[in-house]
Amino acid sequence: MEKITLASQLLQYLITGLTVGSVYAMVAVGFNIIYNVTEIINFAQGEFVMLGGLIMVFFHVAMGLSLILAFPATVILVTLVGMLLDRLAIRPIRQPSVLTLIIATIAASIIIKGAAMFIWGKDPYDLPAFSGRNPITFLGAVIQPQYLWVIGFLVFVVIALSIFFDRTIIGKAMSACADNADAASLVGINVKQMILLSFALSAGIGAVAGITMTPISLMEYDRGVMLAIKGFGAAILGGLGSFPGAILGGLIIGSIESFGAGLISSGYKDAFALLVLMAVLFFKPSGIFGDIEISKIKRF
Amino acid sequence: MDTVREENVLEVQKLVMTFGGLMALSNLNFQVKKGSIKAIIGPNGAGKTTLFNIITGSFPPTEGTVKFKDRSIQHLKAHKIADRGISRTFQTVELFGNMTVLENVMLGCHTRVRTSFMASGFVLPQSRRKEKRIRESALKILKFIGLTDKFKDSADSLPLGEQKLLEIGRALASEPELICLDEPAAGLNETETHVASSLIKAINAKGITVLLVEHDMKVVMNISDEIVVLNYGQKIAEGPPEDIRNNSRVIEAYLGAEA
């Protein structure tokens, strides 16, 4: 009896971990899109997720828009915020250095966070689950239907992005910018537009992550930082710039966090992911795929 | 055996450097005699700068040894190699643009005169004395390279020719036994090139061994005692300028590269 409960308990941790990990993976993919085109690490990446959740609450719960309408409306609105971030915080900087770009995105993130607190206050908000809250039991573990939505959307994002980067002209142009911005601009690609697009895309994916996670873990104005840093941890773990790495990194970080919180200490839940991040940075900053040539797996 | 006069300052033995499967240097051997001027030439991509970077410790070689005064140094970091007495300039000038001309040279004295963090924080008399000594020797070097008038200017504001001189001056400030000059004449006009070559000769006359990479054949033929020719990471010839000038393999390598 004891053994079965332990096994199902572990399975439960794994399922939760993979769900949370899917969110981190989406954040990590967002980091990578911007990083690949601009070499900027956008410290405001987590704010997109937060905004996604809260704006969805506004459209779906407060305004009563149906899920089908509220979802795209939210994604579009957050995408616009992402574009504004590029236009108002990144592009005006005259002498961009790593230091000033970091500072600019940090500034943007606290402005967004402050604005969210101004609009929504400090309380966490709930969102109805997409297809109810009747849990599915699987080998003694409980699976919320929303978990499947989160994981499903990660898969959707992955497929959509790989089609975008491999099959569309704009996607290929963005890839070209990522490889060599100077060469890209020589062949007539508008690098500035590509940067804008990268912020838009990355914000949109952040919004999807926020919308899908809110029914599980609620959403409040100050969740952005932690999501950003864990998503960054995922991106680093998988090798910064690598999309498959980001997904694997996200799932690993989510699982470590879930098992750590369940088996070691729930108070230190957030610390596990950060410890992993620091360990990777210290010992293998190229990530777990570091030995393989990054460029080969950089894109789908 | 006349070992005293023939003493080698630098010995490169069986040096191999690969970058991800690409062979930048393969099985390279040569020596630099104490007090000589040795030039390394070769077409673009021959591995000259890679060689320089290995000698001065930017990265370790894949295989092989670099001996400086009979001690291997290929595993040492750049700053340790500087301590041992090897100084360098860079192909693309790497001055400290945010500092003045004088400060650039003063920083060059770093290997010789050091003040501890605490001593400088508390302005102990010893740190003041050291600072004064550094300043004096830096001024002497500025005089030697002819930039005394500009000692207060920021390094960024100098024209390229003077930046190159300043970089040599900064390298001299560490009182090296071997100075490695990476294309000292690149980008210079004829007069500036002339100034640079006579400066290199003057440095050599002080007893400092010079190793240089240079594309300007006039300079190379003029000032070098010996020349090593590299092509695709391999040594294809070595000898005094007059031999190199008539070496068929060298001519082939250059013509092949230019065609």
Binding site: R94, L99, T100, I111, F118 | A78, F96
Partner: protein, 317 residues
């Protein structure tokens, strides 16, 4: 730009000496002395950070942690073990230096983004520890009853006495740091900032210098933390959260990170903003801070300390 002359330091010292007296004369600002104590405490941290960020070009988003370690070591050792506060301050410095060395040695090999994230993660981990190790730290409720300071039996029991103590520390740290900047060490730091390959080719041990400055800045933050704990007689984790690290960044950016005076100006201004001038905004002051940080980054990259230079250029042309 980098020569820091004695005259401004003297004027500044005189300003500090007479500040409490002036504040006492004007009822509207008589509580400014109290705010200036905090300004001094923050100043102690920003002086070190300015050396780290402006002169050595390394970014840290984790200095709240060192500030917190100093404060908690002082709090725990005095309250739970009854040790002498000055001894605790020294132990705090030693502990912080050791932690900074441990974190700094691998972190400072990293550059730019990675370093920022590593220090950010470190800061949050320490913050979580302050919250979770309730037996030691009192958890989120914090610790009260931390004794005040005294010098040879002379109790520093008033705001004004403590003011002089804190600003004495600041002045000492300022002068020490200025001396370092103007010595060979400062030259080496600026060289590292300008070109690491050239600096190391000239014999500068780049990583040693970076670690040295990182530890120095951490030690100053730790001292500031101890001074804070003994002044308020109370500590709790929220003082040392991530936002405080960002606030430090705002101080440095606003003042100007390439000039040590920037650290003083920035710390002073932001302290007065948060304790006095932004009351109207309540919790939404974060938006103001964000706006300040963004505007300064875009329009005034040299910070306020760079304004005289801009004005001078403007007049010349």
């Amino acid at each position: 730009m980098l020569r820091i002359t004695k005259l401004p330091i003297t004027i500044f010292a005189l300003f500090i000496i007479f500040f409490p007296w002036i504040a006492r004369q004007i009822p509207a600002i008589d509580h400014y002395t109290d705010i200036m104590v905090f300004a001094g405490i923050y100043c102690l941290i920003t002086i070190g950070l300015s050396l780290l960020m402006g002169y050595a070009g390394q970014i840290s988003l984790g200095h709240a942690a060192f500030y917190g370690i100093g404060a908690y070591v002082s709090a725990i050792l005095t309250v739970r073990y009854g040790l002498n506060p000055w001894a605790c301050m020294c132990i705090g410095v030693a502990v912080t230096a050791a932690v900074a060395l441990l974190v700094g040695a691998p972190s400072l090999k990293l550059k730019g983004h990675y370093l920022a994230m590593a220090t950010l993660a470190f800061g949050i981990i320490i913050f979580i520890i302050f919250n979770e190790e309730i037996e030691w730290t009192g958890g989120p409720d914090g610790m009260a009853g931390i004794p005040g300071l005294s010098i040879f039996g002379f109790e520093l029991d008033s705001v004004e006495k403590y003011f002089y103590l804190v600003w004495g520390f600041v002045l000492a740290a300022f002068v020490f740091t200025v001396n370092v900047i103007q010595s060979g060490t400062g030259r080496a730091l600026r060289a590292i900032h300008a070109s690491e390959p050239a600096a190391s080719a000239m014999g500068v041990d780049v990583s040693r210098f970076k670690i040295m400055i990182f530890v120095y800045s951490a030690v100053l933050a730790s001292l500031a933390g101890s001074l804070y704990a003994h002044y308020l007689n109370f500590v709790n984790p929220s003082t040392f959260d991530l936002f405080f690290s960002i606030k430090l960044l705002i101080m440095i950016a606003l003042g100007g990170m390439h000039n040590i005076w920037g650290a003083v100006i920035g710390a002073g201004l932001i302290t007065f903003l948060s304790y006095e001038w932004l009351h109207y905004f309540e919790e939404f002051d974060v938006i103001v801070y964000g706006a300040i940080l963004l505007l300064v980054t875009i329009f005034l990259p040299q910070g306020l300390a760079g304004v005289p230079g801009i004005v001078k250029d403007w007049f010349r042309s």
